[in-house]
């Protein structure tokens, strides 16, 4: 007996025909797919674990018992400071006598007793802990966002489902833009998750590790930059990383290739080339230095500068403005190339 795969549908075609969808609708579909992916869940777990590890590190570092121990060490050191100064001057005098040079200077007068703040012995305050977590975690959150964006689009090419997708949504620029938008939102989500967990953890640490009356510590220095702005910069960095990951996938069409390119760039260019060539002056255009300049509102590096007589290392500064302009330029360039490539190239 003959059997077809399709049962007849007697309803009017107007009821069966699709209504079409908007760009926002396409982004919604992409976000749904993103959420269903196993790698997204793995990324969320990774962010939770990493943030948890940083919070735990902050907890152990600011535990009252440890602070008390460090405070004892500090007091011992301050008590011994006059004796150390006296010993220094004695050694200095002996050397002057031995050498006959009255100009010998051991720098004893410059030996100052460190303060509690110098030793990091301050009250554990939530905002300061959060700032530390955000600065340390920014790069990792960005890497997770890049990986997520790259895999999100790369998987479509490796499974061949991009071709199927384009037979449903053939406007390539709109399709690519919806995927880039979803990857950017994923990056923002990953960063926000890390920041929120880090902040909650920091607040918990500040409460749990609040010293008793027997342990008197100074307040930490005021933050130079509002925490919210730092958080926004970390989110923006992850958004850019997500965009770059997705755009590279539009260009290279394979997640493994993207990871290879990114790691290769990190090792060969960032790790070797910028340090080795032009006496280190290429560091000004290093992505990592510019990320640091963007997130921490400035970055410094040392480059060798030589005169006829001698060479010496001098410190150079990368400003916050250069940081964000440079990073924005990189993101815009890679996204533009990805879009053009996706629009023009054949899809199998």
């Amino acid at each position: 007996m003959s059997e077809t795969l399709v049962s007849p549908d007697s309803r009017p075609r107007t009821e069966r025909r699709p209504k079409g969808t908007s760009f926002a609708g396409l982004v919604g579909v992409e976000l749904r797919r993103l959420w269903w992916r196993r790698l997204t869940k793995a990324a969320v777990v990774a962010v939770v674990l990493f943030t948890g590890a940083m919070v735990y590190n902050a907890y152990t570092a600011s535990a009252p018992e440890r602070l008390a121990q460090q405070l004892d060490d500090f007091r011992t050191m301050t008590q011994q400071a006059p004796q150390m100064l006296e010993e220094c001057k004695k050694q200095e005098a002996m050397e002057r006598d031995r050498s006959g040079d009255p100009a010998v200077d051991f720098g004893c007068d410059q030996q100052q007793t460190p303060t509690l703040e110098d030793m990091g012995l301050v009250l554990p305050v939530a905002d300061v802990i959060t700032e530390g977590i955000a600065k340390v975690g920014a790069l990792l959150l960005a890497f997770v966002a890049l990986l997520l964006g790259a895999s999100f689009v790369g998987a479509e090419f490796s499974t061949g489902s991009m071709g199927t997708w384009l037979t449903f949504a053939p406007r390539r620029l709109q399709v690519a833009s919806s995927k880039l938008t979803a990857a950017a939102l994923a990056g923002a989500g990953i960063a926000l998750l890390g920041l929120v967990l880090g902040n909650l953890g920091a607040r918990m640490v500040a409460v749990v590790n609040r010293p008793g009356d027997d342990l008197v510590l100074p307040d930490p220095a005021q933050l130079t930059d509002p925490l919210a702005l730092l958080g926004l910069r970390v989110v923006a960095l992850a958004v850019g990383a997500g965009l770059i990951g997705a755009a590279l996938a539009l260009l290279l069409r394979h997640t493994a290739a993207i990871i290879g390119v990114v790691l290769g760039y990190a090792v060969v260019v960032e790790g070797i080339a910028v340090q080795s060539f032009l006496q280190g002056r290429l560091q000004r255009w290093s992505v990592l230095h510019n990320i640091e300049a963007f997130v921490e509102k400035g970055s410094t590096y040392f480059a060798e500068s030589c005169t006829d007589a001698r060479c010496e290392y001098t410190q150079h500064t990368i400003t916050y403005t250069q940081g964000w302009v440079f990073l924005l330029g990189v993101v815009v360039a890679i996204v533009a190339v990805g879009l053009v490539a996706f629009r023009r190239r054949d899809v199998s």
């Binding site: 699709p18 797919r33 499974t159």
Partner: protein, 323 residues
């Protein structure tokens, strides 16, 4: 004639690792509106490339293509909702369930969520909707691909080698499905290199070779007019084939030897038996040989065959891949 698909001088060259391969060269064809249209050609003759160009997946070097009168790929968005296609093997996200894959595609075209369940039921996958696509058999993947095309309720369905890898029952299901859709008034464009498969379902065909059109028209017209054996040919088994051949040739029949048999061109098999019996030669076997698409195709391609690589290579080696 109203046409669903028309191409004029369509051409596509692939560039790969320093070599150029002409996949489609000046293809002009027309697929009539309604019914099943076979798109035939050997492996590597340009069928899949042509279909990809119609769907905007591959950019043509030159020439034009229209779907329902709209130039593609420029105005493809205007007609894409009327076109359902399965290009080569079905391709979905392997770790998602069948239902998840369809929900995403439904979202892309604004089809309501309940439509997903309907097409799953319609393709007899209702109870497998929550299974992962990666665990599906080839036949089930094919069903899911058909379910996806039905999300649009298309007027034109394009099936590219739809029975590849299917078992006999699956082949029959797909064949009956195509026939049924064609009977509903939809246009079904089915590409295949298996001529017997197309012959059973197609009303009209386009035959291509070397990326260009060799013949086009109704199946019956192709069979009768392509220089094949025509409808009048019988295979004759007789005790003395040499003497029988002399007798029949003397009476004006055209014939060829096929081992111990004679292949005789005639519209009247009974006349053959009468002629031979009149000379004391009695027929032991008389089998009408029906003209088929395969022989028509072989005639059109001058016996090039069905399995050969028909690509033209210019400036380097053939890269294979697209067909």
């Amino acid at each position: 004639m109203d046409v669903a698909v028309r191409t004029v001088n369509l051409r596509k060259t692939y560039l790969s690792r320093g070599s150029r391969r002409v996949a489609v060269t000046g293809l002009s064809m027309a697929v009539p509106l309604g019914g099943v249209h076979g798109f035939l050609g050997p492996n590597g003759s340009g069928k899949t490339t042509t279909i990809r160009m119609l769907l905007g997946l591959v950019r043509a070097d030159s020439g034009t293509a229209e779907v329902f009168g709209e130039a593609v790929p420029k105005r493809l968005p205007q007609v894409i909702d009327r076109v359902g296609a399965i290009v080569e093997s079905p391709k979905f996200f392997p770790t998602f369930t069948a239902r998840q894959n369809l929900v995403l595609l439904a979202g892309a075209i604004g089809s309501p969520r309940h439509r997903v369940d309907e097409v799953l039921e319609a393709t007899h996958l209702g109870d497998r909707g929550r299974d992962r696509y990666s665990g599906f058999s080839l036949g089930m993947k094919q069903r899911l691909a058909i379910a996806a095309t039905l999300l649009k309720d298309p007027d034109l369905l394009i099936f590219d080698e739809p029975t590849n890898g299917l078992d006999p029952a699956g082949i029959r299901e797909v064949r009956d499905t195509m026939r049924s859709l064609g009977a509903e008034g939809k246009t079904v464009l089915v590409s295949s290199h298996i001529l017997a498969e197309v012959e059973q379902v197609a009303d009209t065909v386009s035959i291509i070779g070397h990326g260009s059109l060799l013949a086009e028209g109704r199946v019956s017209d192709i069979l009768g007019g392509a220089g094949a054996s025509g409808v009048g040919q019988v295979r004759v088994g007789v005790a003395s084939p040499d003497r029988a051949a002399q007798v029949l040739q003397a009476e004006g029949y055209t014939l060829t030897r096929d081992d111990a048999y004679l292949m005789v061109g005639t519209d009247d098999p009974s006349a053959v038996t009468r002629s031979l019996a009149g000379h004391g030669l009695y027929v032991s076997e008389l089998v009408p040989v029906r003209a088929d698409l395969e022989s028509a195709f072989l005639a059109l391609t001058a016996g090039e065959g069905l399995g050969g690589e028909a690509d033209r290579v210019a400036g380097g080696r053939s890269d294979g891949g697209a067909s």
